[in-house]
Amino acid sequence: MKPFAYAHPGDVAEAVRDVAAEPNAVFLAGGTNLVDHLKLGIATPDLVVDVRTLTSREVTDLPDGGLRLGAASTNSEVAADRRVRERYPVLAQALLAGATGQLRNMATTGGNPLQRTRCVYFGDVTTPCNKREPGSGCSAVGGYTRYLAVLGVPAALPDPTAPETCIATHPSDMAVALAALDAQVQVLGPAGTRTIPFGELHRLVGDDPSTDTTLEHGELITSIDLPPLPAGTRSSYRKVRDRASYAYALVSVAAVVSGDDVRIALGGVAHKPWRATRAEELLRGRPLTDHAVRAAMDAELAGAQPQPGVGGGNGFKIPLAARTVVATLRELTSEATR
């Protein structure tokens, strides 16, 4: 591991100043992803600024009826919070579908959405990877694509030597639920505070695979707010994976149904949690029959690009995503009429 200086400032303002002042500085919270990356040589900071005990660890009620998740609240604590379980089951289920009990006890609300991709080439410093080493190329094209993207990618076989090529997926389950809930991210940075709609926290690859989020250097997530949901709202998270437990999603679905309104987010299919806005538009105000949902998802997935690769590639994700949304919404609507 490359040597680094460690700082544990007195408050968040000082932590933000420390990171902002050092171009090669990073924040440390639960450490479940960062410490692993320090060992693997994927992260090579000069300064690690520990914020784990600086932000709030509480889940608090907001005046508008929503909930504020302090950045240092752990994934376990949020999933166990009775208000989250009762009012935002999609979030509790997403958290409980991720990682293991030990990891959830360490991982935090602020850190979880900022975890990096589990693309195997990103994790292997002996292989070219535009996300880890900009300009080096993408080893994933035509390689092990089973866990990689089908949406938001330009072609079924992008140029592996181009500096903008990256077919990584975002691995977080929690983030998929937060995308469907239209959560609001509270941020403190060198220029002060700002609020980022959750859907704008993560970015598609564009021309810069190395950057996962829209946060500026030195900006720190201090809390994530869950907006209130209308009475009668139902929500659910469904994850499809290769093992029953402790595996990343091949495809996951977070769905929130409030009256005529349906919100759908997909995990495991893109560089960011993917809001199925096209499908949502087609379904708004319509009965959520299997047929209607299927048709809406076919429209949503019309631009999907199956990536060839080892073991047949990842084209299976396209019908799987459609079927998983159908199953999730069928379960939610049958609950409502039960």
Partner: protein, 168 residues
């Protein structure tokens, strides 16, 4: 770069100087001579290094020692002060819940954490009703213990051991 920290491990206080890169696992094993937590994968995937860190089961291969100054740690060794076995340890013995034993200290600490989490009513991925009671079914134990791998595959006996300890 060095830093001075204090740790309380299995009831004993220690002050030590560590490199900022040192994990809690290496601090315990290499510096304090406590080899109860094991180094398996060293990447948070196997659970062999599980201890109770400030009361919660955690993976100390992914915890920088410098970031846990003042922490209270209980290892599997510390669960049996003066040689009196913890109910989870006794249940592992009675159910023959191990073969080579390398993962066992991590399994035991994880099981202690599981029983505490169940007692607090925390649901899991397989809990049918998110807001209802939790029963220690086979599926619940398997899901909650999925972060502890056993290369000998003693799972068939680990699950009943956790259930036995939980029934006490």
């Amino acid at each position: 770069m060095d830093a001075e920290i204090s740790l309380r491990v299995d009831g004993e206080s220690h002050r030590l100087t560590v490199d900022t890169r040192t994990t809690l696992l290496d601090a315990l094993r290499e510096r304090l001579g406590n080899t109860s937590p094991k180094k398996g994968c060293d990447h948070g995937q196997c659970g062999a290094c599980t201890v109770l860190l400030d009361g919660q089961r955690s993976l100390i291969c992914l915890a920088l020692a410098v970031a846990h100054d003042g922490a209270e740690i209980t290892t599997a060794d510390g669960l049996a002060p003066a040689g009196e076995l913890h109910p989870v340890q006794q249940a592992f013995l009675e159910q023959d819940a191990f073969q080579c034993g390398y993962c066992t200290p991590g399994q035991v600490c994880s099981a202690v954490g599981v029983l505490d989490e169940v007692a607090r009513g925390w649901p899991s991925h397989v809990t049918e009703d998110l807001t209802g009671d939790v029963e220690l079914s086979d599926a619940e134990v398997s899901e909650r213990m999925s972060g502890n791998l056993c290369r000998c595959a003693a799972y068939e006996n680990i699950t009943p051991a956790v259930q036995q300890a939980g029934a006490r």
